[in-house]
């Protein structure tokens, strides 16, 4: 693989004459397109008018020679060779009108690709040869530097000011916590209510039937919720101490109680 920084890299070098052995080192190319471009350059004609057939022959010859020398060829070189062989035969054989794309068009595309790569390679060389900052042209060695000192000018509105004061005062007032008295059913009263009702019950009774009736000041829903919670805990307590049996047949189903059978 190519290293990132390659000190001996020179673009022009590739078109120069090389000794045959070196030339056959497949590793020297960055892929089949690179090799093709190099072969094209050797024909010393403009890429726009290059003979694709000649180029294909050059590539195939090259690959054959490399194989004869038992160089290990990367798969993509062989794939390219196969494709080029196909292109060559398609170009030479009588034309099949139905074929799409036509071999001529395929050849044209290949040519365009080579031109694109060739153009970028040349552009890269021209770019690198420009007068480059830090190599050919230099910035000032010791610039004084521009310093900008930021000075803040503060903004605050009257309303912000007085509101802030109000907030501070309210925050710092001594805080008095008052817990509002709320009607609840205590656990004790629930236990005595549930156990006394169980004593006279004949069969299973729904837990909700143990609650005090909704009149008599028990209409407040918050109080009813408290009564339900306390009665449920009372039922658990009674079941735990063996003074009640408790059953729930399905999840979220009614909870039913009865006095234990002796």
């Amino acid at each position: 693989m190519a290293t990132l920084f390659d000190d001996e890299w020179e673009v022009e070098d590739r078109t120069g004459a090389r000794d045959d052995k070196l030339y056959l080192e497949i590793e020297g190319w960055e892929g089949p397109l690179d090799l093709l471009l190099d072969l094209a350059r050797r024909q010393k004609v403009d890429l726009r008018v290059i003979s694709i057939l000649q180029l294909v022959d050059a590539y195939l010859t090259y690959i054959e020679e490399a194989e004869a020398l038992r160089l290990e060829l990367a798969a993509d070189y062989l794939v390219m060779a196969a494709w080029l062989a196909y292109l060559k035969s398609a170009l030479l054989l009588p034309r099949d009108e139905a074929e799409d794309p036509s071999p001529e068009e395929m050849a044209l595309r290949l040519q365009l690709r080579l031109q694109r790569l060739g153009a970028m390679r040349e552009a890269a060389a021209r770019l690198m040869a420009r007068d480059r900052l830090g190599r050919d042209v230099f910035l000032r060695g010791a610039p004084e530097g521009l310093r900008i000192e930021r000075k803040s000018s503060w903004r605050c509105e009257w309303l912000d000011l007085v509101r802030a004061y109000g907030d501070v005062r309210m925050r710092s007032e001594p805080v008095v916590h008052m817990v509002r008295e709320r009607m609840v059913m205590t656990l004790d009263s629930a236990i005595s209510r549930v156990s006394s009702m169980l004593g006279v019950a004949i069969d299973w009774m729904d837990l909700r039937d143990f609650l005090p009736p909704a009149h008599d000041g028990w209409a407040d829903p918050r109080l009813r919720r408290s009564a339900l919670a306390s009665s449920f805990v009372a039922a658990l307590e009674l079941a735990r101490t063996g003074r009640a049996e408790i059953v729930q047949e399905e999840t979220f189903g009614p909870v039913r109680l009865r006095a234990p059978k002796p």
Binding site: L161, V168, M170
Partner: protein, 214 residues
């Protein structure tokens, strides 16, 4: 203003110019001659050219100057102010600074410990600095109590900024509430006695603060 006709830069002059420009240190004429490969005898030629260059740059914003035999380029001294520029930025006062400012305004003069006691939180030193820098708060002496804490008060610039003729124009808490300017607060949370701002110099009794020993 007429200036000496700048001489047409020749190769040596251009090379000296570029060398001094790119150098990180001032250079002597001999160093320049050496660098440019002008040899031992080149120093005099370089000196002559440096003198010409010095004249060329005379009217410009950049000067070629010589200090202790070493030459370098620098910004013309009359333009030095351009190198350090002040930029004014309009910034909104922070929440903490606004509260502190309000406390100073309603209670002045106050010490930092008193400000903190009223706010119920510690006040970063920077917060008071901002107000001092803004010119709204000033140091109004020290309180003659143990520790002699610095006390703060507002400035005329403060009254100007907020368009107040005097501090007496600051509304009281009751007025603020009546005007609907206070954030609604659960009535249960507030006891009685939200009076007018506490005025004057009495020292609140509930200090719990870091830097004001009592």
């Amino acid at each position: 203003m007429t200036t000496a006709q700048p001489h047409t830069p020749d190769d040596v002059s251009r090379a000296i110019e570029a060398t001094l420009f790119a150098s990180e240190q001032p250079l002597t004429a001999d160093q320049i001659a050496l660098h440019l490969g002008l040899g031992e005898s080149g120093g005099d030629g370089v000196r002559a050219t440096l003198a010409e260059l010095e004249r060329d740059y005379e009217p410009r914003g950049i000067r070629l100057v010589q200090r202790g035999g070493r030459w370098h380029f620098e910004t013309a001294p009359d333009l030095a102010h351009l190198l350090r520029r002040e930029k004014e930025e309009l910034r909104r006062l922070s929440r903490a600074a606004t509260e502190v400012l309000a406390i100073v305004a309603y209670h002045e003069p106050v010490s930092r410990a008193e400000i903190e006691a009223i706010r119920g939180v510690q006040t970063a030193k920077g917060t008071l600095d901002v107000l001092l820098e803004a010119g709204w708060v000033r140091v109004a002496g020290r309180r003659e109590v143990p520790g002699r804490p610095v006390i703060y008060a507002t400035t005329p610039a403060f009254l100007d900024h907020f368009g107040l003729a005097s501090r007496r124009e600051l509304p009281g808490i009751d007025e603020l509430r009546a005007a609907g300017l206070l954030d609604p607060v659960d009535e249960d949370m507030i006891g009685a006695g939200l009076g007018a701002p506490r005025s004057g110099n009495e020292k609140p009794g509930f200090l719990a603060i870091e830097d004001d020993p009592d």
